[in-house]
C-alpha cells in the first residue's frame, strides 16, 4: 500500500483522512463535509483501511465501538437475570438444587434451573461475553492508539485552511496588532495553555495527556481480566475450609502440611444491653439477639524437618493469634478467616455402670466421642468394653444401626459390661434417651450421667496470588478514567492569512466550558472568539 504525501511535505500512512501534520483533507469524500470528524484526528486506522481477509473482518468487528457497546449492554442484561432468583451458592446447603428451585418458586423456579440460571455467572456463555469484552478492549485500543499517537505528535503549528474552516469553532478577525497577539498569548498562558508559534501563527494546546486516559483505563481493565483468568492456573488460588474443635491441632489444608493450627478457644459474644453502649438499647429490643464477635484464639505452628509416617510431629510454635471476622490471620501468602462455628458440640459422655436392682454405681466412665477407647477398667473385676460406636446414629432401611457422619451429633454405643456376677458380660445398646438390651434381662446398665461439650470453629484458608494483579489493574483503571474524565484536551489555532486572523478551536469534550474559556481568553484582544459552526449548537 502506498503512503500518501501531503503538499506540506509530510508522508502519511495509507488510509489517512487528514494530514497528520498540517491537517489538509486528503480523502475526497471528506472534502464535501462542512465539519471534520476529529475523533481520531483523521489518522489511518487499520479497521477503516482494510476489510478483505477474515482477520480483517474479525479485527473490524471487535474494534467497533458499536460492537463494544452492544457487548456491554448484553452483559448488563445477562447479569441482571442472575439476580431474579438466588444463585445456587446462596441456597441452603443441605438441599438438592433441582428440587429446591421447583419447591420454592414453582414452574418459574424449574425453568430457571433448567436454563442453568442458578449458576449463571460461571456459565460458558457468560464467561464468553466477558471474554469478548476483553478481546474487544485489546483490539479497539490497538486499532486506535498508534494512529492517535502519530497524529498528536506530528502536529504542525500552521494548519491548512481547509482544516480550520471545518472545525466546530471557527472565526475570522481583522489583523490584530502585535499588542493584541501578545495579550492573547498572555491570556492563554494564564489558562495554562502551552503555546507554539511559527510565522506569526499560534497553536495553543492543553491537557493533551487526557487523550490517553481511555487507553490507560482499558489497559487497566485488560490487566484486571488477565488477573481474573489466572485464578484458574493451578497454585494461584487456594480455597479450603477447616473445621477445628477447641483443643484440636490440625494441619492447615492447602499448605502441604507446612503449617499447623491449634484452636485454643472459640468465643461467641452477643451485644448486651447492660454492658454495651446504651444507645443500642432500642435496636436490641427490636432485633432481639445481635452478634458482636466471633473469634478463634489459635496457636500457629510450623512443621520442622521431615517426618516419617508414625513418627510424632516436630512442631515449632510461631505465634498466638486471635482470628475474628474482618481480622484474618496472615501467614506467607495465606489468610485464615473466621467464617462459621458450632457451639457446644458433644465431646465427652459420662456414663455410670449401675446395678439395676440396687441402683448402686460401680464407677463412671468418660467416653471421648471423637476417639473412644475400647475398654474401660473399673477395677475389682468390673470393666466395660465398647463393641461398637455410632457417632451420628440412625437406623438404616433394614433397621440396622448405622451412622450418618463422623460428627457426634447423636452418639450411640454397644457396650459389653463385665462384672464378677456376669463374667461373660452383658450386652447393652445405649443411645441418648434409650437403652436396648439384647436378651432383655440384664442385671447392669450404663446410666447416663452427663456430657462435656466443645465449640467448633470453621476457618477458611485462602491464598490468592492474583490479588496484586487485580489491584494493579484497578489502580491503572482509576488513573486512566480520572485522566480522561477530569481533564479535556483543548486546542486553539490562530493563523494569519492575508492580513486576517483565522481562528479555530477544538476540544474532545465539554464544548460549553471551552467556549466560555475562549471568550475569556479573547477578551480585550480586539479579536472575536471563534464561533460555533454546528447548526443548532445543540451538541456538546
Amino acid at each position: 500500500m502506498n503512503d500518501v504525501k501531503c503538499e506540506c511535505g509530510h508522508v502519511n500512512p495509507h488510509g489517512t483522512v487528514l494530514c497528520e501534520s498540517c491537517g489538509k483533507v486528503l480523502e475526497e469524500k471528506e472534502e464535501s463535509k462542512k465539519l471534520l470528524d476529529m475523533r481520531y484526528e483523521g489518522s489511518a486506522r487499520r479497521s477503516q483501511t482494510y476489510n478483505k481477509t477474515i482477520v480483517d473482518k474479525i479485527w473490524n468487528f471487535f474494534s467497533s465501538v458499536k460492537v463494544g457497546v452492544i457487548l456491554i449492554v448484553v452483559t448488563l442484561i445477562a447479569s441482571s437475570l442472575g439476580t431474579i432468583l438466588p444463585q445456587e451458592m446462596y441456597i441452603p446447603q443441605m438441599t438438592t438444587p433441582a428440587e429446591y428451585y421447583e419447591d420454592q418458586y414453582g414452574w418459574f423456579g424449574k425453568l430457571y434451573y433448567e436454563l442453568d440460571f442458578n449458576n449463571l455467572y460461571s456459565s460458558w456463555w457468560y464467561l464468553l461475553l466477558i471474554a469478548s469484552i476483553g478481546v474487544s478492549l485489546v483490539i479497539c485500543s490497538l486499532d486506535r492508539v498508534i494512529p492517535l499517537y502519530r497524529a498528536l505528535k506530528n502536529q504542525r503549528v500552521e494548519r491548512h485552511e481547509g482544516f480550520m474552516k471545518r472545525q466546530r469553532l471557527y472565526g475570522v478577525s481583522e489583523q490584530p496588532g502585535e499588542e493584541a497577539m501578545s495579550r492573547l498569548e498572555q491570556n492563554l498562558k494564564a489558562k495554562k495553555y502551552h503555546i507554539r508559534k511559527k510565522n506569526g501563527s499560534i497553536l495553543a494546546e492543553k491537557n493533551r495527556f487526557s487523550r490517553w486516559g481511555p487507553y490507560v483505563n482499558h489497559i487497566g481493565l485488560i490487566i484486571f481480566l488477565i488477573g481474573a483468568m489466572l485464578r484458574f492456573v493451578p497454585g494461584m488460588y487456594v480455597d479450603e475450609l477447616l473445621w477445628i474443635r477447641e483443643g484440636e491441632t490440625k494441619a492447615i489444608p492447602g499448605t502441604d502440611g507446612q503449617y499447623y493450627l491449634k484452636n485454643n478457644k472459640f468465643i461467641f459474644q452477643k451485644y448486651d444491653k447492660k454492658k454495651d453502649n446504651e444507645v443500642f438499647g432500642a435496636a436490641l429490643d427490636r432485633a432481639g439477639m445481635v452478634a458482636k464477635n466471633y473469634q478463634s484464639n489459635v496457636t500457629l505452628y510450623e512443621k520442622k524437618g521431615d517426618t516419617v509416617a508414625g513418627e510424632s510431629l516436630n512442631l515449632k510454635k510461631l505465634k498466638e493469634a486471635k482470628i475474628r471476622v474482618n481480622q484474618p490471620l496472615k501467614i506467607d501468602k495465606f489468610a485464615i478467616y473466621q467464617v462459621d462455628y458450632k457451639l457446644d458440640e458433644l465431646s465427652k459422655m459420662h456414663l455410670a455402670l449401675q446395678n439395676k436392682d440396687t441402683g448402686e454405681e460401680i464407677g463412671t466412665i468418660k467416653v471421648n466421642l471423637y476417639n473412644p477407647e475400647t475398654k474401660y477398667d473399673l477395677k475389682n473385676g468390673y470393666f466395660v468394653e465398647l463393641k461398637s460406636y455410632f457417632p451420628d446414629f440412625e437406623f438404616d432401611e433394614n433397621s440396622n444401626p448405622t451412622t450418618k457422619s463422623k460428627v457426634p451429633n447423636n452418639p450411640a454405643f454397644v457396650f459389653k459390661m463385665v462384672t464378677p456376677e456376669k463374667p461373660d458380660g452383658e450386652v447393652s445398646f445405649v443411645a441418648i434417651r434409650q437403652t436396648i438390651e439384647v436378651d432383655g434381662n440384664n442385671s447392669y446398665k450404663m446410666a447416663f450421667k452427663g456430657v462435656e461439650t466443645k465449640n467448633v470453629a470453621a476457618l477458611t484458608i485462602r491464598k490468592d496470588l492474583t490479588l496484586w494483579i487485580l489491584g494493579f489493574g484497578g489502580l491503572i483503571f482509576m488513573i486512566g478514567v480520572i485522566q480522561g474524565a477530569y481533564w479535556n484536551h483543548r486546542r486553539l489555532w490562530v493563523k494569519i492569512v492575508d492580513g486576517k486572523a483565522v481562528t479555530a478551536g477544538h476540544t474532545n469534550k465539554n464544548w460549553y466550558g471551552f467556549k466560555r474559556e475562549l471568550e475569556g481568553v479573547f477578551e480585550g484582544t480586539g479579536m472575536e472568539s471563534p464561533a460555533e459552526q454546528l447548526e443548532s449548537g445543540k451538541k456538546g
Partner: protein
C-alpha cells in the same frame, strides 16, 4: 447527643425545603432576564442550602460520636447519607455552573430521599461482626457520593427533557416523562401514608403459614390490603385483607408497594386535576430560560465526575472490604451484581455519547435511566432481592 443529632437532621430537612422555595423564587423573579445566572433569591437559596448541609453534617458527626461508628450502617443512616451527598454534590456543581434552576430540581430529589429514609427504623444499631470494618464505611460513603454525583446528572437531564420534549401532543416521550413524575409522586405517597399510619400507631398482627409450612407471626404497620399466606388477623377491629398472597411472596412488602402505587396514583391525579395538564408540561415555564447546552454539559460533566468516584467506592473499595470480610472480593451477591450493572450502564453511556454522538436529548434519557438503576439498587434490591448486604429491612 442522640437527641441533638436528630434535631439537627430535622433542622436540615426544613432548611432544604425553604431553600427549594427560594430556588423556585429565583427562577420566577422578573429581575433576572437571563434566567440562568444567580440573582438575589438564588444567593439566599444557596446560602440556606449550605446552612442545611452544615446542619446535616452536624447530625452525621454527632451520631457518629454517639454510636462510635460511622452512621452508614443501616438503611435509615445510609439513605440519609445519600441525601446529604446529593446536596453536597449539588453545591459543588452549583459553584461550577451557577445555575439556580439545578437547585429547583435537585433539592426536591434530596428531600424525597431523606423523607424516604425517615420511614425506616431510626434506632442506632450495633454492628454485627461483618460490618465492623473501616473499609466497609469507606466503601459505603464513597459509593454514596458517587451515586449522588450521578444523581445530579439525572436532575440536569430532567431539566433538559422538561424543556425539550414537545408537550403540545402526546407521545412516547411525554408518556415516559410523566412516568418519572409519577414515580416521584409514589415516593411522596409512600412517605405520606407511612407517616400518617405510624403517627396513628396503626398495628395489625397476623398469624400465617410461611413458605416452609411453619406458622409465624407478622406485624403490619399499614392496613393490609393483601394479607399473608393463610393469614389470620389477630388484632381486633383492624382492616381485613382483600386478598391473600402465596407463601413465597413477602406479603408485607407487597402491601407497602401497593400502598405506594395507589397513593402515588391518587396524588398524581389530584395534581393533574388541579394543573389541568401534564406535570412536566406545567414545569416547562420554569425552564424556559435555561440554555440547553449548559444543562446538557452539566449532566455529562456530572457523569464524568461521578463515574470514577462510583467505580472507586462501589467496586474497588467494595472488593477490598469483601476480601477482608467475606474471604473473597466478589461473590455475585445481588447488590454487587447491581453495582456492576450500574457501572456497565454508565460505561455504555460514555461510549455512546463519545462515539455515537448521543448528545442532548438521548444523553438526557440515559441520565434518567442511570438514576433509575441506582434507585433500583438502593430500594428494590435492598428490600426485595436482599442478599448479604441487606441491612435488615
Amino acid at each position: 447527643m442522640v437527641a441533638l443529632s436528630s434535631n439537627l437532621l430535622y433542622f436540615a430537612f426544613i432548611l432544604y425545603l425553604v431553600a427549594t422555595l427560594f430556588f423556585g423564587g429565583s427562577i420566577k423573579s422578573k429581575k433576572d432576564t437571563a434566567g440562568s445566572g444567580p440573582n438575589k433569591w438564588a444567593n439566599i437559596a444557596i446560602f440556606i442550602t449550605i446552612a442545611g448541609f452544615v446542619a446535616q453534617l452536624g447530625y452525621f458527626i454527632t451520631r457518629w460520636i454517639a454510636s462510635g461508628h460511622a452512621p452508614v450502617s443501616n438503611l435509615f443512616e445510609f439513605t440519609t447519607f445519600f441525601g446529604m451527598a446529593l446536596v453536597g454534590a449539588f453545591i459543588v456543581i452549583y459553584f461550577i455552573y451557577k445555575t439556580p434552576l439545578l437547585g429547583l430540581f435537585t433539592m426536591p430529589v434530596a428531600i424525597l430521599v431523606i423523607a424516604y429514609a425517615a420511614m425506616f427504623p431510626k434506632d442506632i444499631s450495633p454492628l454485627i461482626p461483618a460490618l465492623q470494618s473501616d473499609w466497609l464505611h469507606i466503601h459505603v460513603t464513597t459509593a454514596a457520593v458517587g451515586e449522588a454525583i450521578l444523581a445530579v446528572s439525572f436532575a440536569a437531564g430532567l431539566i433538559y427533557l422538561v424543556k425539550v420534549v414537545d408537550q403540545t401532543k402526546a407521545s412516547k416521550h411525554t408518556f415516559w416523562l410523566e412516568v418519572v413524575m409519577f414515580a416521584l409522586m409514589c415516593t411522596i405517597g409512600f412517605v405520606a401514608v407511612s407517616s400518617s399510619f405510624s403517627l396513628a400507631n396503626y398495628e395489625s398482627k397476623f398469624t400465617y403459614i410461611d413458605k416452609n409450612g411453619q406458622e409465624d407471626v407478622i406485624e403490619y404497620n399499614l392496613p393490609a390490603v393483601v394479607g399473608p399466606h393463610e393469614g389470620k388477623l389477630q388484632t381486633a377491629a383492624k382492616f381485613e385483607p382483600l386478598a391473600e398472597t402465596p407463601a413465597i411472596i413477602n406479603a408485607k412488602k407487597l402491601n407497602t408497594v401497593l400502598w405506594s402505587l395507589v397513593s402515588g396514583l391518587a396524588l398524581y391525579w389530584l395534581v393533574r386535576l388541579i394543573l389541568r395538564k401534564r406535570i412536566s408540561a406545567s414545569l416547562q415555564p420554569f425552564v424556559k430560560n435555561i440554555n440547553l447546552d449548559l444543562v446538557d454539559e452539566i449532566s455529562y460533566r456530572s457523569v464524568l465526575i461521578g463515574f470514577p468516584v462510583f467505580t472507586l467506592g462501589a467496586l474497588i473499595f467494595a472488593m477490598i472490604w469483601a476480601q477482608i470480610a467475606w474471604t473473597r472480593f466478589w461473590g455475585w451477591d445481588p447488590k454487587e451484581v447491581w453495582a456492576l450493572i450500574t457501572w456497565l450502564f454508565y460505561a455504555a453511556f460514555l461510549h455512546l455519547r463519545m462515539s455515537k454522538g448521543w448528545h442532548g436529548e438521548k444523553s438526557a434519557w440515559l441520565a434518567v435511566i442511570g438514576f433509575v438503576i441506582i434507585m433500583f439498587n438502593l430500594v428494590a434490591v435492598n428490600l426485595v432481592i436482599a442478599g448479604l448486604h441487606s441491612y435488615a429491612g
